[in-house]
Symmetry: C2
Subunit: 199 residues, 2 copies
């Protein structure tokens, strides 16, 4: 049926390349584009082009930014003795939403994953080591995910950064805010007990 | 956090306008666009522009098409005595996927919905009446959805088309293919009993 409407089919194929978007959703989105006004679809096209033109990576922390260095690196109200290492810009933004961290950041743009052919040279690891060597950091929080690759990367980084005498930490495991003990998985409860704190 | 990256924020807002795409999904999609290569995002932009330029509605049946009249209207292998009326192009495509219908189509582009201010003049109803008046249709299948608005529209159309002496039908209700009787809802089982057929 779609063979007779190649331009619709082409957009469905393009939208289907997005993560988590299957063919059905892509079809729904493509129909929405088709039924949009000319101005609306033009706004979408311009937003895509504008993003690709303006956004780059900060040359210091490698977060996404429109100005280099980014506002997080140039801010004078942030703590220069603290560095938080994350996998992706999205992780940085998640930590910012927590409103608990006021230090600097470093985005690796991935994790070590030998099976996928991702080694240290594919990540911003040399740049991280250089920053720690030159900076006055007391503590590096390695906030990679708690996946196998994330844990392995954290271990790798901790060995790499040990010579500089900085404290190297990981995020706390524990009960998520607002959740019922009854429904939290066993491993998390175990870790929460181990990491218990004085009241 | 996103305030410092307005171009990213702008694309998230645009993507968030799509049906079924919330802010979280829009953010994920926008990051994907950002991390795509220049060629990949250009392919997406061109697919959108290409669709908007090429696709129009068939002046006969109002299905989406790149040539007017569309392949469904010009096909010589379809039955000119049968007309199927649907709400949207997506519904037409669903019926085509069933491979059971070989007549012509008419797309209303909506249903009567007084609460939303949609009256007969907002739909392709006058064009439908004109086609039935001029054509040699024996039967009009009103395949609007079984929603309140869809049923009301079907009733409205059946009264409107009665003077032309065509048979007016609705799609059958019944047990969906491949489903277990045990798990089918009561109303559907009831309708399936009422509509039982000789073996």
């Amino acid at each position: 049926m779609l063979d007779s409407i190649p331009s619709l089919n082409r957009l469905i194929v393009e939208l289907g390349k997005f993560p988590g978007i299957g063919r059905k959703t892509a079809t729904r989105l493509a129909f929405h584009v088709m039924q949009q006004s000319e101005e609306q679809s033009q706004a979408l096209v311009e937003a895509i082009q504008n993003l690709k033109q303006r956004v780059r990576f900060c040359s210091t922390c490698f977060h996404v930014t429109e100005q280099d260095p980014c506002v997080l690196c140039t801010s004078t109200s942030r703590d220069d003795s603290l560095l938080c290492v994350v996998e992706q810009p999205q992780d940085l933004m998640a930590i910012e939403r927590g409103h608990s961290y006021r230090g600097r950041y470093h985005v690796l743009h991935g994790v070590l994953s030998p099976l996928d052919g991702v080694g240290p040279d594919d990540l911003k690891i040399a740049e991280l080591v250089e920053r720690v060597r030159q900076g006055n950091f007391n503590e590096v929080i390695v906030a990679t995910n708690f996946s196998i690759e994330g844990e392995a990367t954290a271990l790798y980084l901790s060995r790499l950064l040990q010579p500089f005498g900085v404290r190297i930490t990981r995020l706390a495991h524990g009960i998520p805010m607002g959740s019922d003990l009854e429904y939290v998985d066993d491993a998390t409860v175990g870790r929460a007990i181990e990491g218990r704190r004085d009241l």
